[in-house]
Symmetry: C2
Amino acid sequence: MQKKIEITSELLNNLIFSIEKKDNSSVLKIITEMHAADIAEILENLPTKEAQLLFELVDQKRSADVIVELDDDLRESLLSDLTSKEIAEKVIDNLESDDAADIIGEFPGKQQEEILALIEDAEHANDISDLLTYEENSAGGLMAKELIQVNENWDTKKCLKEMHKQAKNVKKVYSIYVVDNNKKLLGTLSLRQLLLSQSEIPIKKIIKKDIASVNTGESSEAVANIMNKYDLIAIPVVDRHNRLIGRITLDDVIDIVKEEAEKDYQMASGISEDIEANDKIWTLTRARLPWLLIGMIGGVLGAKIIGVFDIKNNFELAFFIPLIAAMAGNVGVQSAAIIVQGLANNKLKLDGIINKLMKEFGVAFVNGIICAIIILGISFTLGYNLMLCITVSISLLSVIIFAALFGTCVPLILHKNKIDPALATGPFITTVNDILGLIIYFIIGEALLI
Amino acid sequence: MQKKIEITSELLNNLIFSIEKKDNSSVLKIITEMHAADIAEILENLPTKEAQLLFELVDQKRSADVIVELDDDLRESLLSDLTSKEIAEKVIDNLESDDAADIIGEFPGKQQEEILALIEDAEHANDISDLLTYEENSAGGLMAKELIQVNENWDTKKCLKEMHKQAKNVKKVYSIYVVDNNKKLLGTLSLRQLLLSQSEIPIKKIIKKDIASVNTGESSEAVANIMNKYDLIAIPVVDRHNRLIGRITLDDVIDIVKEEAEKDYQMASGISEDIEANDKIWTLTRARLPWLLIGMIGGVLGAKIIGVFDIKNNFELAFFIPLIAAMAGNVGVQSAAIIVQGLANNKLKLDGIINKLMKEFGVAFVNGIICAIIILGISFTLGYNLMLCITVSISLLSVIIFAALFGTCVPLILHKNKIDPALATGPFITTVNDILGLIIYFIIGEALLI
């Protein structure tokens, strides 16, 4: 039984030490039994030079699997040391068509053709070249061509014999697809059914017909949603004539589910590109600057608004500007997050916008009353002028209710207009709510104080 | 081939109309061919009374699958109409042990025993009762007991025969687990290997030994991470003597991966419980109030800080309070989000905190310089006093750098102390950064203006 590897600094230091001393046998002792995913993790945590030396020591059979697991940057750097011939033989030949196509797709067009021409197995090369024609974020771009298919006119005996042949090229067998003479997908035969059936029964009799399939053009997110909703481990991909051309497995989709959820979080945090902490400074800057600029425009508008009111003679109003702005922002972000996640999980689509607003009004009203009473008590106790305390308290209640309704409405409206509602969360909602919160505060302040 | 169902308001209205007219044949026509997950989605979008009437029309075989797909609230309400006997026969008998245990686990202890006693298949009842002893968020709580296991001493022929027997109880067959005479897990036999092997070869010769397994006590998140890292569709669960006792499939884990990512987002948005837009007003209020109170404390501190400085004679400083506070908050949230996601994806664990800070300093410096120059230009153009413009510009640069470093440090420190770093994002970071931003602004303001 393989042990789970904990990749510690100690392990890494040992490896670096052995690599630098060119003590290959010690290095091999450490990595020989390791899973490709663990080797990939180690490579990502080594300096580039050491990573290159270590990668050269990985046996040919596993190096392809290691390459698949790596981050784009390191993969590019390790592959750039190999010739097209080595890439074809060491890497591509040992991968299923979907992973192979993903890797070849990262090379410039000319080298793609060069590598494809060097692949020994013509069918494999054809499969990959076919996959390269699909959009990356579509079912076609996700699928693998390797699958087991049987004809509806066969019986279970012939079926087992044919599967025996096909299984040589398929690493993971989860479903057996049944097609007619024109390759049109009719249904599946589960391995369980095959195990349970008597020999020599016609396939037609045990085929399971009510199965889900997706079209090559379906978006990755739609594929992930369908597989998740129907608890599918694998799903067949068909062309527009319903001919079976590939299959997608759940492990290829799990990262999409994760990235979707993470993307909403990134947008809510004011990050406009899919970045990682390891990216370069300029990439990180570029992803963050746009939202900061929006915040800045908001800040300048805020300055203008405060300038409109007579702050000079009511300078005490300034004390609670941060409170009002912060609460407006916080409430808006909360409301928007609930709506964005609800939309992402398909929990909201049939509810009317009016119902949502009524409910949000209820939540905001309860929270607002509680906060308003507390702030009235605290500010009065702290010795602020009573009219100022009342102004802050009433403003806070109004701002909380307003910000909640605004935070609810905006993502719903964007969604209705087919714009990603996550855009509304984060800096945009915070900024707008800041400004509107200030306006409410100063209007109430002028009415009560002046 | 089953069509994908689009659940539209029109479809729902038709259903409600037919249900109210007690036109059962029309209702059945609509739902007969539907997947359980689609029926569940429809039920969740119907008024409670109509949902109950519709659920009664679902055939016995599918009603168990429908129940599994429902949200907790609706499930509870539909099940409360059934007797323990009906629950045992209609629902539990038709489910695999993991889903059955999840549902029984929602009943009070006494009714749990009542239902268990009414399950016809004693082994099924035993399996469920065993699963109920594990923590909900552990491998034991996730696993199903149904699996196919063979003895290392059998040959492939005997193996196929035994699998034939066992497959009757297992809905999804992905792996065949090989155990020794003491039920200790030795490895797996893939269906592919079995298809490829000659008959009557000893299992020992084709067993795949280097497989990952998890212990019953492993957390759900750890299971999800392992399955995701090693691209596993199913993973065996063992007890502390390495005896095989269950298996977890990827479709049971995908929701955990999703919830993990969503939880970080919720915390960043200032929501302290796992809530959904459909929850009750009081639940929603309770989840949101704590963070609003933190924001309020921050606001009061902000008022105190502003009061310390001579705002009366430098009232113009008040104009840019919202700008400084908003930018401090935005930058802090961005930095923290990058660290939190990096930690969640295991991308950071080996990098030193110093490196992270240096990089974050670089990003903040570039963003800060750009923002400082822009605000200097804008504010001067708008006619504000030059010294005020310079104050705002210098403060903004300082605040951006400070907030970025703070937003980076806090989650890293929390993580090091085994506290969920997501706690640091959202209102907490925003609030602290607001306050520290104000202090920086007023100190610089006093130095330059007074």
